[in-house]
């Protein structure tokens, strides 16, 4: 799918106008159902082929490419499951060495599948495996996670033509710090607190001018993890820590709400779906909306107005 079609799809979801996009794409819940069903089918195929990873993998990848190329399936869940399932099936044929480098192979599989089907979650999982590799190899999982999240945070600051690229950076920014926390060790607690607090601060500094939800959520996760680790150092009862944390969160939420009261521009607290509902109501009143067609697929990967490139 080229960038123009991806943008048209995003526009259709935002405006709810009947914009023609020459790709089959489903909502998130349908995608999940298709993904799970296809995974079940791939496992059955693997069993049926006498645990032949190569045969299962090749069949899955050929079918995925046929669905994408000939049938124009994008974001259906099927092609994503076939791509990642196919690559993982091929990996099962590799000799088991027990070396941490195997994690990089799995990371590469997720990265390749993610790039092909433009799946942000696959990209974030690939980054997670790289982080896990650095932990296994150099005991630097937290550091790697926060470095990758910071790079993604910086990447989010520039303009991207494809929504899927934006989702990739958002997913890495939000999920990697949380995944990295699983690798945090007690002897390095002070370092962990410092790093997560620093990451939270950087994310917050970026979030205020850029106004991006992923940045705000990264801020929250950074400070939350730093606070959890800090609380371990304080010798009071667990219920007191939970109560203080809960009260603090509610108070901050209330103070922010109060501060933003009656604001109509800038930072507000109204529900984001309101404009979409507004549009739907308008369309219901005036049903004669012209069909807007996305342009034909062209050679480039992204870029309206004749621009073209990889991202």
């Amino acid at each position: 799918m080229n960038a123009e079609h991806e943008r048209a799809l995003a526009l259709r979801e935002l405006t709810e106008l009947p914009i023609e996009v020459p790709w089959r794409a489903y909502g998130i819940f349908v995608q999940i159902v298709f993904f799970v069903l296809t995974c079940a089918g791939l496992i059955a195929l693997y069993e049926l082929s006498d645990s032949s990873g190569i045969l299962t993998g090749v069949l899955a990848l050929v079918l995925a490419e046929w669905l994408i190329g000939a049938r124009r399936w994008y974001r259906t869940g099927v092609e994503s499951a076939l791509w990642i399932g196919g690559l993982l099936a091929c990996i099962t044929e590799l000799p088991r060495t027990g070396k941490p480098e195997a994690l990089l192979i799995v990371a590469a599989a997720f990265a390749i599948a993610g790039a092909r089907v433009r799946n942000a979650l696959f990209g974030a999982i690939a980054a997670g495996f790289v982080m896990h590799y650095t932990e296994a190899k150099w005991d630097a999982g937290v550091l790697a996670a926060l470095i990758m999240a910071t790079i993604a945070l910086v990447a989010l600051c520039r303009t991207w033509q494809r929504p899927s690229t934006e989702w990739l950076w958002s997913a890495i920014t939000v999920l990697l710090p949380i995944a990295g926390y699983a690798e945090a060790d007690a002897p390095w607690r002070t370092t962990t607190i410092t790093l997560y607090a620093l990451f939270g601060t950087i994310a917050f500094i970026a979030a205020i001018p850029k106004r991006h939800h992923a940045m705000f959520f990264a801020t929250m996760s950074g400070f939350a993890i730093a606070a959890i680790e800090l609380a371990r150092e304080i010798p009071i009862a667990l219920e007191a820590k939970l109560a203080i944390g809960g009260a603090l969160l509610l108070t901050i939420s209330l103070l922010v709400s109060r501060r933003l009261r009656d604001r109509k521009t800038g930072f507000v607290t109204t529900e984001e779906k309101l404009p979409a509902i507004d549009i739907a109501v308008t369309l219901a009143i005036a049903p004669q909306t012209p069909e807007v067609a996305a342009g034909p697929e062209r050679g480039g990967n992204f870029g309206g107005a004749g621009a073209s490139g990889s991202f």
Binding site: A8, A10, L37, L250, L254, S257, E272, V292
Partner: protein
């Protein structure tokens, strides 16, 4: 940063000036809502406080005593309800939203914990202890209507399902849950109908219309799940599969009629589980059958999805 400014501007004739302006302001971040962040923070705060309350009950029973603890918890719940009540008044509505929803939820959770604590300490209901769920279902149900809260309604329905499940089946076998689940589903449908009647006759501000969908979701899932419970016993396996398939057909038809895709979707998932269970048990348990059934399921779902959207447009 991804932006659809150019495309939105091009759609101005279709969208109209007001909508285009609103969407452009959103894309340019001239208007940026912190609503999701505030909701997550408020939810996390409420959950932390509810967990803290649970630990206080567990760890301080000997030191503080049951009467003082239950009184404290009751007062805390009351304070949450009072805050939510004050926040619901027009003067404060803009300030406290979206936090008041979660403070109300916290109050309801504290009330639930308090009622359960009182029952475990004082055995007021003795052998009929599951009836405290019925009390909670009524209390949260009343709260849901007073505060017009979907969260409290969900809590009320969950408590009702817990009461019916434990009271009627005594939880000996999973298959014993079928009748209570069906009864609960029927009760919810009746409650939904009553709600719809009141809603249609209300002048001005009646009960919340959004409650209807909550009743429908719970009723459909309980009915669909009731058939699957029967799969745990050999003698009820076949009727369980057939029952699930029958309910899936009803829910799918209902989803099509009322144009709600989520009902069609999960009726389909339940139907696939029942059909696969049936095939694997009575015809052949092989990878080939699973593969064929998965392909058939995907093809069927594509057709259903297409038909659903054809009807909608």
């Amino acid at each position: 940063m991804f932006s659809l400014e150019r495309e939105i501007e091009e759609l101005r004739p279709s969208l109209g000036d007001a909508r285009t302006g609103a969407l452009l302001a959103r894309e340019r971040r001239e208007v940026f809502s912190l609503h999701p962040e505030l909701r997550v923070a408020a939810w996390a705060g409420a959950m932390l406080l509810a967990s803290a309350a649970g630990l206080v009950l567990k760890n301080n029973l000997d030191r503080i005593g049951p009467v003082a603890l239950s009184t404290l918890l009751g007062l805390a719940a009351l304070a949450c309800y009072a805050f939510a009540w004050r926040a619901a008044q027009p003067r404060d509505r803009a300030t406290a939203q979206p936090i008041s929803d979660y403070i109300l939820l916290l109050g309801a959770l504290l009330l639930s914990a308090d009622v359960a604590f009182i029952e475990t300490q004082f055995h007021l209901l003795e052998h009929h202890w599951p009836r405290h769920f019925l009390f909670l279902a009524i209390a949260h149900g009343v709260g849901a209507y007073v505060y017009r809260s979907r969260m409290l309604l969900s809590l009320s329905i969950t408590a009702l399902a817990a009461f019916m499940g434990i009271e009627r089946s005594k939880l000996r076998f999973i298959s014993d849950l079928t009748i209570p689940a069906l009864l609960c589903s029927g009760l919810l449908i009746a409650w939904r109908q009553l709600h719809a009647v009141i809603l249609s006759r209300a002048d001005g501000e009646g009960p919340p219309a959004q409650f209807l969908r909550i009743f429908e979701h719970f009723a459909a899932n309980l009915a669909l799940g009731s058939g699957l419970f029967l799969l745990s016993k050999d003698e009820t396996f076949f009727p369980g599969c057939m029952m699930t398939l029958a309910f899936a057909a009803i829910v799918t038809a209902w989803g099509f009629k009322h144009r709600v895709e989520s009902f069609v979707l999960y009726a389909f998932v339940y139907a696939v589980i029942a059909a696969d269970a049936l095939v694997l048990r009575y015809i052949a348990a092989s990878s080939f059958v699973v593969l064929v059934s998965v392909i058939a399921a995907i093809a069927t779902l594509i057709v259903i999805h297409r038909r659903f959207h054809e009807r909608r447009t």
